[in-house]
Every structure is written in C-alpha cells, then in structure tokens.
C-alpha cells in the first residue's frame, strides 16, 4: 500500500518533470522508465525513497512533491478552537505524510492571543491543538505519533498589542520530530 502510493506519485512526478522540461522528449521515455520500476520494486525502492522524501534536507520540514515546504501553521478565530475549512486540505497532506512515515511524530503546539487570562488561554490553546490532533487521528495518524502542547499566550509570534498581532498569535503549529 505504502509502496504503491509512492510509485504512483513517482510516476506523476516524472511525468510532470518531463512536461515542464519541454516537449523534445519522445513519448516512450517515461514508459520505459516506469516499466522496470513496476516489475522490480524491491530493486528500485531505495532510489524512490530518496527522490520523493516527504521532508526537506533538514529532516524536520515537510515538503510537497515539488520540494516546497507545506504550511505547518493554522490560524483560529478569537476565543475559538474550530478548524478553518480552508486548512483541511493541508492538514490532510500532513496526515498522509505521517501515515507514510510512521516513524515520525509531531508536536502540535496550541497558542492564543494575549486577551483573556493566562490559564484560561492555556486551556484554549490546548483546545486548538487538540482540534488538529483529532483531525490527524481521524485521517489515520496513530495516536502515538501526536503530542499536544499548549503554550497559551506565553509564546506570541508577534509581540505587538494590536488586532494584526492577535490574529497571527491565535495559531496551532506542527513541529515534526
């Protein structure tokens, strides 16, 4: 299952790379490369893993098929711990990465803006991180791969005291280990 999904994404990557490289190549080339892979996966698999690693060279930044970092920060409404629907696709990608890499784990850090009491915000931050954790688990990620840590309002991303800063600080962040 794991190998098959890797292979199919490899095929897509190669096709995409060739398409971008230009139209000078003949149409048979990708097929030629793809066929031996299909037939002898045990030989080519190590090479495949190298090519489509889910992580950047620092080994802590998850990347997409083209090597671009995947966003690890998700923002929340004031006093709310509900996931933003537009973040679900990205979270799904994180879930797939974690399912594929069962040896990796994430710390989900929950944060709040400075309004409200510190201890209540610690609880609210945990609610935000837990919302992410619940999503990842429902997408198949093992519970042992996730730890939730709330920092409440103690670690602002932006130390200013205005609505822009507050919006930046109401967040949950995935830290890969």
């Amino acid at each position: 299952m794991q190998i098959r999904s890797r292979l199919s994404s490899l095929a897509i990557s190669i096709l995409a790379a060739l398409f971008i490289a230009g139209c000078s190549s003949t149409a048979t080339e990708p097929v030629d490369q793809q066929e031996p892979v299909d037939q002898t996966p045990e030989v080519v698999a190590p090479e495949v893993e190298e090519i489509i690693s889910d992580f950047a060279e620092d080994n802590s930044t998850p990347v997409d098929g083209s090597g671009q970092p995947i966003s690890r920060t998700f923002f929340f409404e004031y006093d709310k711990a509900i996931l933003n629907p537009s973040d679900l696709a990205t979270l799904e990608v994180h879930a797939q990465i974690l399912v594929r890499n069962s040896n990796r784990s994430v710390v989900v850090q929950g944060h709040c803006d400075e309004r409200g009491t510190r201890e209540y915000n610690l609880a609210l931050g945990e609610g935000r991180a837990t919302a992410i954790s619940n999503f990842l688990r429902s997408a198949g990620v093992g519970s042992r791969q996730i730890e939730v840590v709330s920092y409440g309002e103690e670690r602002p991303q932006n130390p200013a005291h205005d609505s822009t800063a507050w919006a930046e600080n109401r967040r949950a962040v995935l830290q890969y280990r």
């Binding site: 409200g116 610690l122 609880a123 709330s150 920092y151 103690e154």
Partner: protein, 467 residues
C-alpha cells in the same frame, strides 16, 4: 543613572492622573528622598531586576496627614534619614495617608521631650512618628526605636524597639509602617510582605528569557528564584510563605514545580501529558489544587502534597481551570466554560454542591476570594476590555476596580485591603495595585522587561521582631 531617568518619568506622569487629593505634591518631595535612598543603597540591592520607583496615581479624597520625622542617629549610620523615608513611602502608597515632607517640618524631635504638639497642629498633622537609631558597640547591631503620637490628644499610641543588622533598614522600616498603619486604621499592615512575579524579556523570540522573581511588596530588593528560556507562570505562595508552586515549560510542556523561597529544594511535582498548571495551596498548606488535562480536557484536581495522591474535583468535557480555595478550605472557586462562556463557579468539596457565582458579562475568570470568603475579585470583560472586578456574593453587586485594558492575574494582599494585578502601560507589561474599594491606585513599572503574574505573599514571620 537608571534611577534618575526613571524619576523623570515618575515626575512627569505624576501630575497627569486624578490629582484631587493633596497627597501628590508632598509625595513628590518624598520621591526625592526615595531616589536619594536608592542611589545610596543601589550597590546593596540587586537593582538590575528590581522594579522601578512606584508611581502613585490616586489616593483617597481626604488622606490622613501624618509626619514621620527623620530618625536621630549617629553619623556613622549614614542610612539614618532613609528609615523615615521608607516608613513614609509605605504609608503614602497605601493612598490613605498624606505624609508631610521633612522640609516643611518646624522641628525634628527624636524624643518626647523635644515634641511641641502646637507645631504639629499648625501643620495640620493628625499623627506624629519620631524615632532614633543607635549603634550597639558590643554587637555591631543597631537599636531602632519609634513612637507614634496622636497630635490632638497628645497621647502616645504606640512605641516599639528593634535590634537589627545593618542590612535590615528596609525590613524595620516596613515593620514600623505596619505598626503605624494598624494602630491608625485598625487593619493589619501588609508592608512587610513580599511579591512574586514573572519578568519576561523578548517573550516569544529565540532570545526569550523568563524569570521568577521575589521582591519586597514595593518591588525593591528583587532576586531571581528561577530563570528559563521557556515560559513561567502561575506562581502561588504556600501559606507559611516558605515555598512557591509554579508552572514551568522546561520539559517542553507545562509542569508544576514546588520550590523553596530561600532554601535549595526544588521538585517537579507533575509532568503529565497535556496541561499541568494553576497550582494553588490550600489554606492549611497540605493540598495543592491544580489543573491537569491528562484525561483529555482540563479538569481540576487536588493533590495531597505529603503522599502525592491526586483527587479529581471536576468532571466536565469543557474547560475547567483557575482553581482557588475559600479561606476555610472547604470550597474551590474556578473558571469553567460549561455554560458556553467562561464564568466563575464554586464547588463545595464535601458535598459536591456546585454553584455559579458570576452572571454579569460574558467573560469572568480567575477568581480569588477575599479573606472573609464573602467577596470575590476576578477578571471581567466589559465592552471587549479586560478589567479587574469585585463582587459581593451576598448582595450580588459588582464593582469594576480598574480602568486600564488587558488587566489580569489579580492577587490579594493578605489583609484584603488591596490587590495587585498585571496590566499594560505603553505596550509594556507592568504591575499595578488598586485598593479593594477602587479608590487608591499605584503602579510598579519595570524598565527591564515585561512584568506579570504577581502573587502577593501571606503575612510572613517577622524578620525583625520587636523587642
């Protein structure tokens, strides 16, 4: 250098706020004395982290005029003048006293024989404090004595003497202020108490530094109990004043630490998955209420400190946090969003009887009961702004005590007369104090970083007991 620039700040802001009381002008003179005192004593203090000079914003409308005459002392006790200043400044920042500047005094008596009550009546001083200090040649210690007189009746109200070390000028000054305050107001003075607070530098950045500090109640003589690159919060005193419980993120998640104020003991009490926070000692010092989310959501637990056994107190899928004890130790008040919004609830431990206490507004949190157990102070949001409010539980009346924004972490003085809280001033976290009737206000700014999370100590054992 640092003090002089802070002083300019103090003087500038001094006249801006409500100056209905005549206390302001005379206090300014006292500031000169205090600044001088700080300059003289600076090498002896850990000035780098002490709070700045207090800025008094508001006192009562008709403060009591009192004269603290500079104490007589031989020249080699060069701090002799400062003792009267320490006493005067303590009384002044209570907001209830108008202390007469020494420059305006007609005479400087140090014994009953030197007192002409007519002089003090002319100066409209209701009370008079005189005193003297002597070096005891055989022990090297200092003998300090004071007398408090009622000017109208010419009666001696109080007199005490102390034997102190040279390093204890501030201790004896605060102690004398306690005696004077109690004799005149009938309320036990809290000038000899201490405060805990968190000093944060560059919070959130890579260079962030968080320090748990302990200082005199006026912010002087600060020293660091624990320093970390990870956040610290929710410090709480043991009722004997010997230990502190607080939350540290040193393990990568919040954990509860128990530590000596003066000794070397330090222990991590809990480090469960999830939240470990809000530690508060029971009035008998045997138990610690706390918040743990190891079961999935934040719930309130009580730990028996001797055997570390945990007892779960709340059971609700929402947020339950910020526990604190009633003075009799029989109930716990806490914050819960079980009604949809954060409100304050009270739980009777023996019967599990639960009662909601707050109904005004949609954000009431982090409550503390006053010594009698009949009044509550807490964080209250009104029109989107966070203030400290006071509520009479029997009459259900609510009084907003503060006018600033982002006010939080109210902590009561042990005599219940005032509370300290955290707020912001020009984008910087500072501590502030307000009397429980809202009439007296002063600030304790810091030029070193953001200060927050104040915790006012209980009454402490006498450092300088009266002889």
């Amino acid at each position: 250098m640092r003090y002089s620039s802070d002083f300019i700040f103090a003087r500038r802001t001094f006249f801006r706020p409500v100056s209905r009381s005549s206390v302001s002008w005379r206090l300014l003179i006292n500031y000169l004395g205090l600044v001088f005192l700080l300059l003289v004593c600076a090498p002896g203090l850990q000035a780098a982290s002490s709070l700045d000079t207090i800025i008094i914003d508001r006192g009562v409308d008709e403060p009591i005029r009192i004269s603290i005459v500079p104490f007589a002392a031989p020249d080699l006790l060069r701090d002799k003048a400062s003792l009267a200043n320490i006493v005067a400044f303590d009384l002044a920042r209570s907001g209830q006293f108008d202390t007469l500047a020494s420059e305006n005094m007609l005479s400087y008596p140090s014994t009953r024989q030197g007192v002409f009550f007519r002089d003090w009546r002319i100066l409209k001083s209701a009370y008079l404090v005189i005193g003297r200090a002597e070096l005891l040649s055989e022990s090297g210690k200092i003998f300090v004595e004071f007398e408090l007189y009622d000017v109208a009746s010419e009666r001696l109200l109080e007199s005490r003497d102390f034997t102190i070390d040279k390093s204890q000028w501030r201790d004896v000054g605060h102690k004398i202020a306690d005696f004077v305050y109690e004799k005149i107001t009938g309320v036990q003075g809290a000038f000899s108490t201490k405060i805990l607070y968190v000093l944060a530098k560059d919070a959130g950045s890579r260079n962030a530094r968080y320090q748990l500090e302990v200082a005199d109640a006026d912010g002087a003589r600060a020293r660091t109990l624990y320093s970390s690159s990870e956040p610290i919060l929710s410090a709480s005193w043991s009722p004997d004043g010997k230990r502190v419980a607080y939350v540290s993120f040193e393990t990568g998640r919040p954990s509860i630490i128990l530590q000596d104020i003066d000794g070397l003991y330090r222990e991590r009490l809990t480090n469960f998955k999830g939240i470990n926070s809000s530690p508060v000692f029971s009035p008998d010092g045997k138990n610690l209420a706390m918040v743990l989310s190891r079961g999935g959501d934040p719930e309130i637990f009580v730990m028996n400190i001797a055997n570390r056994k945990l007892r779960r107190i709340t059971r609700h899928h929402g947020i339950d946090t910020e526990p604190s004890w009633s003075p009799d130790g029989k109930t716990i008040v806490f914050t819960s969003d079980r009604g949809g919004r954060p409100q304050i609830y009270q739980l009777e431990l023996e019967t599990n009887f639960l009662e909601r206490l707050t109904f005004v507004g949609d954000y009431n949190a982090r409550a503390r009961l006053l010594p009698g157990g009949k009044h509550l102070v807490f964080v209250h949001r009104r029109n989107g702004v966070f203030h400290i409010a006071w509520q009479d539980l029997e009459k259900d009346s609510l009084l907003v005590l503060t006018a600033t924004d982002l006010d939080e972490s109210p902590s009561l003085a042990p005599n219940g007369a005032m509370l300290m809280y955290a707020t912001q001033d020009q984008g910087r976290g500072i501590l502030a104090v307000v009397s429980i009737d809202g009439r007296v206000k002063y600030r304790l700014p810091s030029s070193v970083g953001d200060v927050r999370e104040p915790a006012w100590s209980p009454f402490l054992p006498d450092v300088v007991p009266a002889n």
